[in-house]
């Protein structure tokens, strides 16, 4: 990915980490976050 995609991914993944109500992303939420950044396909699938 580009560095700018990496920054967007960092914001998606970590932007809410300090919220008292933070919880880990579900598989669906994580894949949706990847898709918003243009990260799709087999490599980015979290389904085992």
């Amino acid at each position: 990915m580009t560095l700018h995609q990496g920054w967007r991914l960092a914001q998606e993944w970590y932007g809410d980490r300090l919220r008292p109500d933070w919880r880990p992303k579900t598989v669906e939420e994580a894949e949706a976050a990847f898709a918003r950044i243009g990260l799709a396909g087999e490599f980015w699938s979290l389904v085992t």
């Binding site: 990915m1 580009t2 560095l3 700018h4 995609q5 990496g6 920054w7 991914l9 960092a10 914001q11 993944w13 970590y14 932007g15 980490r17 300090l18 008292p20 109500d21 933070w22 919880r23 880990p24 992303k25 579900t26 598989v27 939420e29 994580a30 990847f34 087999e42 490599f43 980015w44 699938s45 979290l46 389904v47 085992t48």
Partner: protein, 156 residues
């Protein structure tokens, strides 16, 4: 991420209290707390703290060293790495470039990441300012497909 129903709900309130205390320690002290320090931070006995640490590790909220101490509270590394992050008066380490970018993303602060390219070792100085990554050439390479990240998160 998780498929753990309890973790997906955010775990117990004590687990979350401990998680936030760990993050506050990282942010304010520039390093991770020891287990003993965690006990003082949340004013609880060590067996209760250790049980919460295990649950947080199971949900990947924390990654532990072999001795049980915290290795990572993402995006913060408890050990020195090749990804130092400087923001205002404090500095930290990220475990990788994603985590290093994750530190200013977590803090919502400007930051500078002084690292080097993994293939050619040329200096890479990344800067985040006003919520934007300033232009810099380069790519981020992931060697491990996403579904396998947590099989060995240290390798990933």
């Amino acid at each position: 991420m998780t498929s753990n129903p309890t973790a997906a709900k955010g775990g117990s309130s004590f687990d979350n209290q401990l998680r936030l205390a760990v993050y506050r320690h990282f942010i304010e002290q520039g390093r991770g707390p020891t287990i003993r320090e965690m006990g003082k931070l949340v004013s609880k006995p060590l067996p209760q703290v250790k049980a919460a640490i295990r649950r947080l590790a199971e949900s990947h909220a924390l990654v532990l060293q072999e001795n049980g101490e915290v290795w990572r509270a993402a995006p913060f590394s408890a050990v020195p790495t090749a990804f130092p992050v400087q923001a205002e008066e404090h500095s930290w380490y990220g475990n990788c470039v994603w985590d290093a970018l994750g530190i200013p993303a977590t803090l919502h602060q400007d930051a500078r990441i002084q690292t080097s390219c993994g293939c050619c070792n040329h200096e890479m100085s990344l800067r985040v300012r006003n919520g934007q990554l300033l232009d810099h050439k380069g790519i981020i390479h992931f060697a491990v497909p996403a579904r396998h990240w947590y099989k060995d998160i240290v390798f990933t």
